[in-house]
Symmetry: C2
Subunit: 377 residues, 2 copies
């Protein structure tokens, strides 16, 4: 077990205003061979923890593409995390009962090794020379990091892309999994999800400031990333929610771009996209986005054999009816596959209006559901 240490392992911190002081880092022992053939000699995985290690069940959170490991506040960083309403004392994932770990994925830019990290071979950021990642590589890096931290068996909670990583980890290391909570995830990308993400990547790489991926230390393809994020937001939410929230309300500030029509929804997109672009690395975005498109649980034999290899455990699968990107039909497919493999699965189909992002914001529906489930662990 490597002693966790304060993050000396990354030189990219100055680029990432989103990094929490509570984030720790573990350096994998030995190189990491990747699915597409290359090998990373040095890999750091960033993480945060809540609750006492060794007490109760260890619950490991695998986030989506964009969040960091800072899922909730802690004494070291009182700033709210991206899943603040879920994690903490007396919250659905009660940190007095469970030890909670949230990882930053391999390839991301919040402390873990990724394209913005320094390549030890050159001393410069990897940029476009970072090897192509697969979801399986994220899973393998997570599994090894958890093992080094002393975690042999844990309950996995995967949201969005994190659910794909959880499925891959379960397929590759079923003996480590004590149960799965999969929220708004997918066994593979739909054609529409591929289309949207491919378009986002085209917007980024088509921005001259992407410069073939060699934009460090500059801000990089700000315009392309802004477009990509706005398209993401459109795909994460639902029309019904935006009609309620923005409708045709006008925006009377500065002109956002030539031919902006002057509506509030345009200003919301702009503000959110600007914030995102400040903290997320474009090359990380490209890598993780493509990895999601290529993942397919059928490359591991499918859901049913995977479920048969898992120890019996209570699983939870949650889908949201208004999710355009990871449609509820895919959550149903996961639940049915796990059941067909002999597992006890609760499948919750929620009518939240917030689409793919509902698990981040629909506290009224998610908090009681998660509380009941995590209480059984």
């Amino acid at each position: 077990m490597t002693t966790p240490r304060k993050l000396p392992c990354q030189s990219l911190l100055r680029l990432r205003p989103g990094l929490s002081p509570a984030t720790r880092c573990v350096r994998l022992e030995g190189p990491l061979p990747l699915r597409h053939g290359a090998t990373l000699e040095t890999v750091h995985i960033a993480y945060e923890t809540w609750g006492e290690a060794g007490s109760g069940t260890t619950v490991v959170i695998l986030p989506g593409l964009s969040p960091s490991a800072h899922a909730a506040a802690s004494p070291e960083d009182p700033a709210p995390g991206w899943w603040e309403f879920v994690i903490g004392p007396d919250r659905p994932l009660d940190t007095r009962r469970h030890h909670v770990v949230c990882l930053n994925h391999l390839g991301s830019c919040f402390g873990s090794t990724g394209p913005a990290s320094l390549d030890p071979a050159t001393g410069a950021p990897y940029g476009p020379d970072f090897p192509a990642l697969a979801i399986e590589d994220l899973a393998e890096a997570a599994w090894r990091a958890l093992a080094q931290l002393g975690h042999e068996r844990y309950h996995l909670v995967g949201t969005s892309m994190g659910g794909m990583v959880a499925l891959a980890l379960a397929a590759m290391h079923p003996e480590s999994v004590r149960g799965l909570t999969l929220i708004s995830s997918a066994p593979r990308a739909t054609a529409t999800a591929i289309a949207i993400r491919s378009l986002q990547r085209e917007a980024v790489t088509g921005d001259p400031d992407w410069a073939g991926g060699r934009y460090y230390p500059g801000p990089g393809p700000v315009q392309g990333m802004r477009l990509a994020r706005k398209l993401g937001l459109i795909s994460y939410r639902s029309g019904a929610e935006w009609d309620l929230r923005f409708g045709r309300e006008r925006y009377c500030g500065d002109q956002l771009h030539p031919f902006a029509a002057g509506f509030q929804v345009e200003s919301y997109l702009e503000a959110n996209a600007r914030k995102f672009v400040e903290r997320f690395d474009a090359n990380s975005y490209l890598q993780l986005s493509r990895a999601m498109d290529r993942f397919d649980i059928d490359d591991h034999g499918g859901l049913v054999p995977l479920a048969r290899r898992l120890p019996r455990a209570p699983h939870l699968v949650v889908g949201v009816e208004t999710d355009f990107l990871f449609p509820v039909t895919q959550q149903a497919e996961i639940a049915e596959g796990l059941r067909a493999g002999g597992q006890a699965v609760r499948f919750a189909r929620l009518p939240s209006l917030q689409g793919h992002d509902a698990f981040l914001v629909d506290k009224a529906r998610f908090a009681p559901l998660l509380a009941e489930h995590f209480h059984r662990l």
Copy 2:
């Protein structure tokens, strides 16, 4: 009545490979004052016709943003049009019984006056100096063009944006309308539709080759227009259709862009977008797109008073359940509004998988519905 003449009225033809030799052009008598204050001194409106003028009902087709006036083949241009399965002898809109006119909208680039036209004051293309257009301006130009062609009363068929133009024309000149067929249209843009179109416009104006709109005679913002079109295609179709059509089929041709994932759906988007960009003017796209966002039938007092001003007539409103951009709830709103104003309205809610584009491709559902309706005119 102005004698229709072969299109000598546009100098932009060389820019528009999509223009049909069957397209005619009418020059409006006198200047056209626009809703936002400016005046266009010279306005040409392009159109095509099928069937004998003066026989049966005149049916005027108002297309969506991107199609030209070439809705169907004719002796002068046997190339199939964008609504080929609808128009012709023995087709739903039977040209042996009806005289059919399809207009190219003001602001478009297929023969009608738009930003790519030469400004008579300067002899150069208007480009960014073309005045801001409203849907009402398109309606007024259409109404005047039709009057000059000798059409005083007609049945209006509006698809997508054309349905907004039809509603505006009906609100401004109810005495000219003998009935409305509104397909996958809207009384106003939803917040999501505004978000999508604003993002498309940002992609275009963010392309350095847009050059503030002064890109003539060059090809202009090809990369931005390609992104905008791909986003359009994603919003026009439905996930269920693409999953059936493309699924996770791989594409093994040239790399489409850096970080393309190698799926068939990416190649489809690329091929379609390239074709579109060759024929559609970017400044036209920006103008019409923004005009759609700003249109609101409530600026004319709403649907109910509009319906009360119309002569009694059989109307048809068609919506598609998988339409993401012009949701079926908006078609229901139109139908209910017209009914509440005393009109007889048939409302058809179709389960087509093809989303907003269904009326262009779902012949099996649209042909019998339209045939039955147009037979009653």
